[in-house]
């Protein structure tokens, strides 16, 4: 009896250990190599559109003419906005041509930064902050709610092409955690917005998604009605009066 119990316990312990940490590695970036698809291959023609060409010139003017490659990040960003939020390989080639470097040097940059999407994203790319403060405040529930509501997996685009959900690292809104960022590519490079929605609950985030789907622009910032920006809920609790002058000396006398 005892032996059976012991062996059972041993099995349990074993099982616990066997639950290896082999959870899928969730890197925010996609693959580090390119696979040709019909809409993403080097033969797809791509160039900056007429509206963006002056912008390209403007960006290049920020850098000395012999250091054109310095413009690679702003140009990639512009290309991404123009192309609905993601960079096909031919767009990177086009940027390489503009800054006069080998394409691989642009690929290196584009793969390094996780905010350059090298796979298709939705018109609204929802980025859930997964860094520690947000995670403690429930970013996983936020993400689960989003994924469940939209019926997609991470980095997948909904059937209507409107939404995709990704993960990102800390955006500095820890005081209002958890938060998501909505990158809005629905209006091209001109109407591009990149807004934070903070103090979220699983319910509220679904409401935001629904509002976006209806074409509304829900107010960004904290979603807690009791808070103003990052102030405490229900109004200030400290610093209520006028700040006192420094007690040590009279500054005016100096």
């Amino acid at each position: 009896m005892l032996a059976r119990l012991a062996s059972k316990r041993l099995l349990e312990i074993r099982q616990a250990f066997r639950q290896s940490p082999q959870t899928t590695r969730s890197l925010s970036t996609a693959l580090n190599y390119h696979i040709d698809t019909p809409d993403n291959n080097p033969n797809v023609p791509w160039e900056f559109n007429e509206a963006n060409k002056p912008k390209v010139k403007e960006i290049l003017s920020h850098y000395p003419s012999n250091y054109k490659q310095s413009a690679v990040i702003p140009l990639l960003d512009l290309a991404q906005q123009q192309h609905g939020g993601w960079l096909p390989v031919s767009a990177m080639d086009a940027v390489a041509k503009v800054v006069e470097v080998a394409p691989i040097r642009v690929y290196e940059v584009a793969t390094f930064y996780s905010m350059f999407n090298r796979a298709k994203v939705g018109k609204y790319h929802l980025l859930v902050c997964g860094t520690t403060p947000c995670m403690i405040r429930g970013s996983r529930e936020i993400e689960d709610a989003l994924l469940k509501h939209l019926g997609v997996k991470r980095n997948e685009v909904t059937k209507d092409g409107l939404f995709s959900v990704g993960e990102m690292e800390c955006m500095g809104s820890c005081v209002n955690a958890p938060m998501i960022t909505v990158a809005d590519y629905s209006n091209g490079a001109e109407g591009y917005t990149y807004n934070y929605y903070e103090d979220l609950t699983p319910k509220r985030v679904v409401e935001i998604v629904e509002a976006l789907k209806r074409g509304e622009k829900p107010p960004h910032g904290t979603q807690n009605p009791e808070r103003i920006n990052c102030g405490p809920a229900g109004g200030n609790t400290t610093l209520l009066g006028e700040p006192k002058p420094p007690p040590c000396r009279d500054l005016d006398a100096c």
Partner: protein, 745 residues
């Protein structure tokens, strides 16, 4: 770095440091104290003497060159004072002091990346260990390479490197010559603390030469830097970030460089290994033979690694003056051609057109009989592009004794002037090209004709932004160049100041003009050469007492020695009237003009083009099986060393000719290779000065008479397919794969 040396160093350091600390004189930093005993002169002399340390020799013969005596600084490496020029890094200072710092990402010939952190050393007054490869040495710096801090730092780095490195040494081709393996023996732990899963990376397809196992990669970026800096192909890059970082091309792309094989050597781990050599042998089973390469006229220094009778691989050998430490892919991977299509027995073509193996006695007798039946002036000898000086000497002696002087070497054309050595050599020398500040390439595509010379030009262009002008058909360059034209007309324009490049040439301090050996096949060879001499008269910087910028870039290993030995054709129509042709490894000679009834002897090692027309075949040895003298395009004489035994009944070329001469009744007066060489000494004494460059004495007075006008025909492409230029490379399967996959169609 050998594992043994590391281990012994670790041992030595522990014992020597104990000795040192007990030695009072070791205390170099002396505070100011009253020491009356030191005021005595003999005591002062004693204290001023060098600390009593075991003398150290620089690592791998590291040499220090002080360009400016003011820029000398002194640093202390483990207490040992060493003088180095300003600007050297701590790692270089250590290597001068005889301390080999472990490293992965640092490479002498590449830019400094400083990302592997293996070279951490302790520097006094520095709060943290410093990466010695990226840290410039400062005067008075006290570098400690063997302290517990340095050791612990390296152990930490090693643990992180091994975190994601698979434990597949038993099935890894780098095993036994792996930097990571060696250094982990010195700095690695016997167990890991890493319990998470190791990452895995998708392997990349870089072509038929380089096999990738990217999971083994430690991201040292040596291959990325090599590709972009030395090879000049911007294909490889570092993709991703953090633990997802990987080396790759992003888009599916083969590495189309003629130097791609070198990434195998510089990869410190088994991530990039040789595809043809995969799972063939272990490096400790191989016998290394230091010899030279003959597939082009550069004469790259190589080591042939063989196991038993088989050549397993070819790797480069350091020679700063010729190939540095790189070799071209053709040199490296032609070795499987040494085993295929070989001629192993003497053969005679029967009446049915089929070859029948016979004994040497019968074959020689048949040939001797035919020789006696033809008139001496109907005898022609052609030396192939891989022939060594000894065999060419004996062939020439043999034919001369019979009475013919119609003998030449492939690739030298019909109207070459071999009187002046400077007329067919690279007078600047390959390493001398680094001083040039302006290049004019005429009818030559160095990238395919002599990849190592091209690498040197690229190095110069990268370092000094030297201008490169090119006259010839449009071709690939891996450095910026101006395409000036396609015909010799452009050259005339430059000479007559009608071309903007004339200004570039006249302002250049060390201009270098490189003419391809392709012009030897033109009708207007001498006219072009005389144009060049006019150029040297017009641009005085081209030829000065200390600089000779007139170069000919030869194509084949045999060419320079053949011209030194005087293998020049007597008449332009030797082939049309020939009745007896002796082809000594000559496969690229046009035999169409040969009369149908001519008797052809083919002496060679491969069943290649020459065999199709041959009546008798004498099997001979390839460069890996014989001792032969070769002169490269800059006039540097080098010798091959036999690495493997010969195939079947094959014999060395000069021995076959010597035997034939005896059967013919005109016995050549030498029986040993030393005998042949003493005969060579009479003809071309420079061919005996191995590893020396006999400078060609240039004389501007001896201008070749410009007979005829320069023709308007454009310069042609000399090498159609880089990977297949001679009998060995044409027999090679690897080279066939390369030419089908990598050459541009």
């Amino acid at each position: 770095m050998g594992l043994g040396s590391l281990a012994s160093r670790a041992l030595r350091s522990s014992s020597s440091s104990r000795v040192l600390s007990s030695n009072p004189r070791y205390n170099l930093i002396r505070t100011i104290v009253s020491t009356p005993e030191l005021h005595k002169p003999e005591a002062a002399a004693e204290s001023a003497s060098e600390p009593d340390l075991p003398k150290r020799t620089p690592v791998a013969g590291a040499r220090v060159h002080f360009p400016n005596p003011d820029d000398v600084i002194e640093v202390f490496v483990d207490g040992y004072p060493v003088k180095i020029p300003k600007g050297m890094t701590v790692l270089q200072a250590c290597s001068v002091a005889g301390v080999d710092i472990p490293r992965f990402c640092y490479h002498d010939r590449l830019s400094i990346a400083g990302n592997c952190r293996m070279c951490l050393v302790e520097v006094e007054k520095s709060p943290k260990p410093v990466a010695s490869c990226a840290m410039p040495a400062l005067p008075g710096m006290k570098i400690k390479t063997d302290t517990p801090i340095a050791k612990k730092a390296r152990e930490g780095v090693m643990e992180f490197l091994l975190m994601n490195h698979p434990l597949d040494c038993p099935i890894c081709d780098q095993g036994g010559e792996c930097d990571l393996q060696d250094q982990s023996m010195a700095f690695g732990s016997d167990r890991g603390r890493f319990t998470e899963t190791k990452r895995s990376v998708v392997d990349k397809n870089l072509g038929p030469l380089v096999k990738t196992v990217m999971t083994r990669c430690i991201q040292c970026t040596r291959c990325v830097r090599f590709a972009s800096e030395i090879a000049g192909v911007q294909d490889l890059g570092m993709l991703g970030r953090g633990s997802g970082e990987e080396i790759g091309t992003y888009v599916e792309k083969l590495m189309t460089s003629e130097l791609s094989g070198n990434v195998i050597d510089i990869c410190p781990v088994g991530a990039l290994t040789s595809k043809p050599f995969a799972f063939k042998a272990r490096n400790w089973e191989l016998k290394g033979t230091e010899t030279i390469d003959v597939t082009d006229a550069v004469g790259s220094n190589i080591r042939i690694d063989s196991r038993g009778p088989e050549v397993m691989r070819i790797v480069p050998r350091l020679n700063e003056d010729i190939n540095e430490e790189w070799i071209s892919d053709k040199t490296r991977f032609c070795y499987d051609g040494l085993k295929r299509q070989r001629l192993s027995d003497p053969m005679i073509r029967g009446p049915d057109g089929q070859f029948k193996p016979v004994s040497w006695r019968d074959a020689l007798a048949v040939v001797a009989e035919v020789i006696h039946q033809v008139k001496p002036e109907e005898i022609v000898g052609v030396a192939g592009k891989l022939s060594d000086a000894e065999s060419m000497m004996s062939l020439k002696d043999f034919l001369n004794r019979i009475g013919s002087n119609n003998i030449w070497c492939e690739g030298n054309g019909n109207n070459i002037d071999a009187d002046l050595r400077s007329g067919y050599l690279m007078n600047t020398t390959i390493s001398g090209l680094e001083k040039a500040d302006c290049f004019l390439l005429i009818g030559t595509q160095p990238r395919v004709e002599a990849a190592m010379v091209n690498a040197r030009i690229r190095k110069t262009v990268r370092a000094t932004q030297a201008k490169v002008g090119y006259i010839g058909p449009p071709t690939d360059f891996n450095y910026s160049h101006d395409h000036l034209g396609t015909t010799p007309e452009t050259l005339t324009a430059i000479l007559e100041n009608r071309h903007p490049f004339s200004a570039t040439l006249s302002t250049a301090k060390h201009p270098a003009i490189i003419v391809g050996a392709g012009i030897f096949h033109r009708q207007d060879t001498s006219a072009i050469l005389s144009l060049l001499h006019s150029l040297s008269a017009k641009f005085p910087n081209l030829v000065t007492p200390e600089w000779n910028g007139l170069n000919v870039l030869l194509l084949n290993a045999a060419q320079a020695a053949a011209l030194d030995l005087g293998l020049v054709p007597e008449s332009n129509t030797g082939m049309e009237s020939a009745k007896f042709v002796y082809l000594m490894g000559a496969d690229d000679t046009e035999l169409d003009a040969l009369p149908k009834d001519a008797f052809v002897v083919y002496q060679g090692h491969h069943g290649d083009k020459g065999v199709y027309r041959a009546n008798v075949i004498f099997p001979s040895t390839v460069f890996s099986e014989k001792e032969g003298t070769y002169e490269n395009t800059e006039g540097c004489v080098q010798q091959t060393v036999p690495a493997v035994p010969t195939v079947g009944d094959a014999r060395e070329d000069w021995k076959i000719i010597r035997a034939l001469s005896e059967v013919c009744g005109v016995r050549l007066p030498y029986d040993t290779i030393t005998g042949v060489r003493s005969r060579i000494k009479n003809v071309a004494p420079n061919l005996l000065k191995v590893d020396e460059r006999e400078p060609a004495v240039f004389s501007g007075l001896l201008k070749p008479e410009g007979n005829g006008k320069v023709s308007a025909a454009p310069f042609g492409v000399t090498v159609e397919n880089f990977y297949m230029t001679d009998a060995i490379t044409r027999a090679s399967k690897i080279m066939a794969q390369c030419s089908s996959l990598l050459t541009k169609k």
